[in-house]
Symmetry: C2
């Protein structure tokens, strides 16, 4: 499986993992804190925390020897998930808030509400679909290259296919890979 | 469930949905194109496409009457998922590419490889954890407010708790909500 997004999903494992990472990003650390926040059974939470530790997004640390108690801290990998979470939150705010927004992102100093956008670090330009696309990286295999070549040749999604273009679509896609 | 990220996850439903949206962002539209790309059973794919249509991230459109054939186009809501996907891809590229990167984001004109970061649209500043936090929005209920208040009071994650701070943690968290 070459797609880096698919690999990320594979490592995160399930939706609940993202909510645990969310809580960790909010500063929660202790088992009982996660449990209270998420309202799930201890054995379920335990399994999910273990999976996140295995995926090296969380690190388990003992904070009490007697009785033995652990806390869960984000690793660098877990912390780097923050932009994904913020983007997900912004998408939710835009599309799934029939009663208005309940959580917003704000400047800690000024309190100004933030509209998050994804840009190119170098140029500062927003990563619009028109201007930015996907290209094979150094480790791309033949299938990934074909899939991206197919993607690059697609007309903009609102364009209607002509007959010959439709036939070409069928011929070119021979990909069987995620 | 007030958290907008949790709501997004609820609507997306399962990991596979994200890979279908990925393929749609790459220009795939037809049932057989998705099937070839994802390598899954037709009835499974059918169910997932239906779920995405129900969630109004995809729109089903007939492109042939005889025989009846449909294609699946991203709605505005589906298209707005793109930053989430790009952030996920960047996270995967950073953390799950032992053999090097296989898919990169590039400027379509210049071919320059892009390092995507999330910034405040107005100021252009990166949404770092130090400078940006979460605040309750207009529709926040009491639980959401308490959770965010708890989050706001947490020390930076690398800081070690002193004894009294630890006790305060326990007292303050009375949240049972995602």
């Amino acid at each position: 499986m070459q797609c880096p997004a698919a690999r990320s999903l594979e490592r995160i494992g399930e939706w609940w993992s993202i909510l645990i990472i969310r809580d960790a990003l909010h500063g929660l650390r202790r088992f009982d804190e996660f449990q209270q926040s998420l309202g799930i059974a201890p054995n379920t939470l335990s399994r999910r925390l273990d999976a996140l530790v295995d995926a090296r997004t969380l690190e388990r640390r003992e904070y009490s020897e007697h009785p033995p108690r652990h806390e869960y801290l984000l690793t660098d990998r877990g912390r780097d998930f923050r932009p994904v979470f913020l983007a997900l939150l912004a998408w939710g705010n835009k599309h799934f808030t029939p009663d208005g927004e309940s959580v917003l992102i704000a400047d800690k100093k000024t309190g100004a509400i933030v509209d998050p956008i994804l840009v190119d670090r170098t140029s500062g330009r927003e990563l619009s679909e028109r201007d930015y696309g996907f290209v094979p990286g150094p480790a791309a295999n033949e299938r990934t290259r074909r899939r991206l070549a197919f993607a690059a040749e697609q007309p903009r999604p609102t364009t209607k296919d002509a007959g010959p273009a439709r036939r070409r679509r069928r011929q070119r896609l021979e990909v069987r890979d995620v």
